[in-house]
C-alpha cells in the first residue's frame, strides 16, 4: 500500500450533542478515488470540512503528506494542495465564468500585480481548456448568476481544478446535474483527474455513481467508519444495504 496522502486519526467532533465524528480513522492514498457514503446527517461533509480547515475537530489530527494540518485555515490548507468543490456551488456570482476561473489561476500563480488586468492573464487559454473539458466553455463569457445550477456545479469543480491541487475533495459532484449528463460529467472529470494526477475524495449518495467511479468506499455512520473497502465489497455488505442504501 502506498504512502497515505491524507491521514485522519481519531477525529472527534460534535454539534449540539450529536456526534458527527466519534473516533474516525481514515486515510486517502495517492491517486485514490475514495467515495464516502452514509446516511444523511452522518457527518460525511464534516470530514471534508475538517480536512479543509472549515471546522476544527474537538480532538484528533489530520495530516497531509506528512504535515499536520489540523485546525489550519482553509487558505493555508488550500495553498498546500487540497482543493475543494462544494455541494452548493460556491462561485463569484457577479463575475463571469472565465473571470471566476482566472481568479483561481491568479490565486494559484500568486499574481499580486495591481496594474495588470485580470483579463490579460496568461492563464486564459489554460482555463478555457479546463472549461472545455468540463463542457462549459460555451458559457465562459456569461455572468454566473445567469447560469442554471447544473452548469454552476461543473464550474465549481473546474474552479477547484484551476488550482492544480494534489487532492480534490468533492461534495456530491453530480447533484444538480441532469441524470442523462451525470455519467458524461463523471467520465470527463475522471479523465481530467487522471490527466492532472489528482487524488479525489467524494461524498456521494448515488450508489450507481459509487459503483462506477469509486476505487474505494468508506461508510460513515453515526460518527464512525463502519466499513471500508472496494465498492463491490462494501455494497455487498448486508448492514450497509439495510442502513445506508435502504434496500
Amino acid at each position: 500500500m502506498s504512502q497515505a496522502l491524507i491521514e485522519a486519526r481519531d477525529l472527534h467532533i460534535e454539534f449540539g450533542g450529536v456526534k458527527a465524528a466519534d473516533g474516525v480513522d481514515l486515510s486517502v492514498h495517492e491517486s485514490d478515488h475514495l467515495a464516502i457514503i452514509g446516511p444523511n446527517g452522518a457527518g460525511k461533509t464534516t470530514f471534508l470540512n475538517i480536512c479543509t480547515g472549515y471546522l476544527r475537530p474537538k480532538s484528533g489530527t489530520v495530516r497531509f503528506d506528512g504535515t499536520e494540518i489540523t485546525g489550519r485555515s482553509p487558505r493555508w490548507i488550500t495553498r498546500r494542495g487540497i482543493a475543494r468543490a462544494f455541494q452548493i456551488p460556491q462561485l463569484f456570482l457577479e463575475h463571469t465564468v472565465i473571470e471566476n476561473m482566472l481568479i483561481g489561476a491568479a490565486a494559484r500563480d500568486r499574481v499580486r500585480s495591481l496594474w495588470r488586468p485580470l483579463s490579460a492573464s496568461t492563464a486564459r487559454d489554460e482555463m478555457m481548456e479546463l472549461l472545455e473539458l468540463m463542457g462549459v466553455a460555451d458559457v465562459a463569457a456569461q455572468v454566473v448568476t445567469a447560469l442554471p445550477e447544473g452548469q454552476r456545479k461543473l464550474i465549481d469543480i473546474a474552479l477547484a481544478l484551476a488550482l492544480k491541487p494534489r487532492v480534490l475533495l468533492m461534495d456530491e459532484p453530480t447533484s444538480g446535474v441532469s441524470s442523462q449528463e451525470k455519467f458524461q460529467v463523471m467520465d470527463t472529470l475522471l479523465r481530467v483527474l487522471a490527466h492532472q494526477q489528482v487524488t479525489a475524495v467524494f461524498v456521494e449518495h448515488d450508489m450507481e455513481m459509487v459503483e462506477r467511479y469509486a476505487e474505494r468506499v468508506a461508510v460513515w455512520d453515526a460518527g464512525r467508519i463502519r466499513i471500508e473497502g472496494t465498492p463491490a465489497e462494501v455494497l455487498a455488505d448486508a448492514g450497509v444495504q439495510r442502513d445506508v442504501i435502504g434496500l
Binding site: 479543509t52 485555515s73 482553509p74 487558505r75 488550500t78 495553498r79 482543493a83 475543494r84 462544494f86 460556491q90 462561485l91 463569484f92 456570482l93 457577479e94 463575475h95 473571470e99 482566472l102 481568479i103 483561481g104 491568479a106 490565486a107 494559484r108 499574481v111 499580486r112 500585480s113 495591481l114 496594474w115 495588470r116 488586468p117 485580470l118 483579463s119 492573464s121 455572468v143 474552479l159 477547484a160 488550482l163
Partner: protein, 318 residues
C-alpha cells in the same frame, strides 16, 4: 464605447475651462474633486460590498498631517504636501485596516465610524496641539519652489487637482480590473470560496482599504490646501455619510460616478443652500430619497438608461 469616451473627454475639457468663465468656481471645483477622491475610496470598498461610515477619518488625517508638515517645513511645497498627506493617511489606513478588515458589513461600517469619531474627539480635545475646533492654519504652499499669489495659485491648484483626479481615477480603474481588484469584488459575493482558492480575503480587503484611505487622504490634503485651514469638522460622521451618499448618487462601484456624483452633489447643495437657506437639508434629503427609490444605480446608471447605448449596467461597471 467610443461615443462615451468622447463625451468623457468633452466633460473633462468643459470642467477644465470652467474657471476661466466663472472665477469663483475654482474653489467649488477643487472641493468637489477633493470629495470625489474620498468618494472614490468609498467606491473601492463598495466593490467588496463594504461600506465605510468613517472615511472622513482619512480625509481629516491627511489634512492634519499636511498642516503639521507645512508648519515643520516652513510653508512647504504643494506636491510634497500631497505626497506626505497621502502617505500619512496610508499609514493610518494600514493601522486601522489591520483591525477593521476582520469585520464585515454593519460591524465594518460602525467600526470605521467609531475610529473617525475617536479621531474627531481627539482633534477637539487636544487643542494645544490640534488647535481644537478652530483647527490649524495651513498657509499657501509653494508650487515647484515658486511662491504664488492667490489667483495663480488657485488656478494651479485647480489644474493640479484635476490632473491628480484623472491620474488616480485611471490607476483605480486599473486596480479594480487587476487580479487583486477582481478578487476584491469576489469578497462581496463569496468570501468563503475566496479562502478556498487560497486567497486571503482580509489581505485583499486590507490592500483595498489602504488604497481607499490614501485616496481619501489626497482629497483631504487638496481640500485643506484650498481652504487654508483644517478643522475637526473634516472628520465628523456627517461628512463620512456625505461621502457614502455621493458614492450612491454617482453610481456605486463606478470610478467616474464618484466624480460625477461629487460635482452634482456639491452643485445641488450649494444652490439649495442659496435658494432655500431655510430648508436645504430637507430638500437634499428628498433628493436622496428620490435617488434611492427611483434611480438607485445613480448618475452612471441613469446615463446608461438614457443613452441606452451601453451594455447593462452590471457589466459596464466592471
Amino acid at each position: 464605447m467610443r461615443g462615451g469616451r468622447f463625451l468623457l473627454l468633452g466633460v473633462v475639457a468643459l470642467i477644465a475651462l470652467m474657471p476661466l468663465f466663472a472665477p469663483w468656481s475654482k474653489t467649488f471645483l477643487v472641493l468637489a474633486i477633493a470629495k470625489g477622491l474620498a468618494v472614490l475610496g468609498i467606491v473601492v470598498l463598495l466593490r467588496a460590498g463594504q461600506v465605510s461610515f468613517g472615511h472622513a477619518l482619512f480625509f481629516a488625517a491627511s489634512a492634519y498631517v499636511a498642516a503639521f508638515a507645512a508648519r515643520l517645513l516652513g510653508g512647504g511645497e504643494l506636491l510634497t504636501l500631497l505626497v506626505i498627506g497621502a502617505l500619512g493617511s496610508g499609514v493610518l489606513g494600514l493601522l486601522v485596516g489591520l483591525f477593521v478588515v476582520r469585520y464585515r458589513y454593519i460591524f465594518f461600517g460602525m467600526l470605521n465610524l467609531a475610529f473617525s469619531m475617536v479621531f474627531y474627539a481627539v482633534l477637539e480635545k487636544f487643542y494645544h496641539y490640534t488647535g481644537g475646533s478652530d483647527g490649524l492654519i495651513l498657509s499657501r504652499p509653494s508650487v515647484l519652489g515658486i511662491g504664488l499669489e492667490r489667483l495663480p495659485f488657485e488656478y494651479t491648484l485647480f489644474y493640479v487637482a484635476l490632473a491628480t483626479a484623472a491620474v488616480l481615477g485611471w490607476l483605480v480603474h486599473r486596480y479594480l480590473n487587476s487580479a487583486p481588484g477582481r478578487a476584491l469584488a469576489a469578497i462581496k459575493t463569496n468570501e468563503t470560496r475566496l479562502e478556498y482558492l487560497g486567497i486571503s480575503a482580509r489581505g485583499t480587503l486590507l490592500v483595498a482599504y489602504v488604497i481607499s484611505a490614501m485616496l481619501a487622504g489626497v482629497g483631504g490634503t487638496l481640500a485643506a490646501v484650498m481652504q487654508g485651514l483644517v478643522t475637526p469638522e473634516y472628520a465628523y460622521w456627517v461628512r463620512s455619510g456625505e461621502f457614502v451618499f455621493i458614492a450612491i448618487l454617482g453610481g456605486a462601484g463606478h470610478v467616474l460616478g464618484a466624480f460625477a456624483g461629487a460635482l452634482v452633489y456639491e452643485g445641488v447643495r450649494m444652490y439649495l443652500a442659496v435658494l432655500a437657506a431655510d430648508m436645504w437639508q430637507l430638500l437634499l434629503g428628498v433628493v436622496l430619497l428620490v435617488i434611492v427609490l427611483f434611480a438607485s444605480e445613480g448618475l452612471v446608471g441613469l446615463w446608461h438608461r438614457i443613452s441606452g447605448r451601453f451594455a447593462p449596467a452590471g457589466r459596464e461597471a466592471s
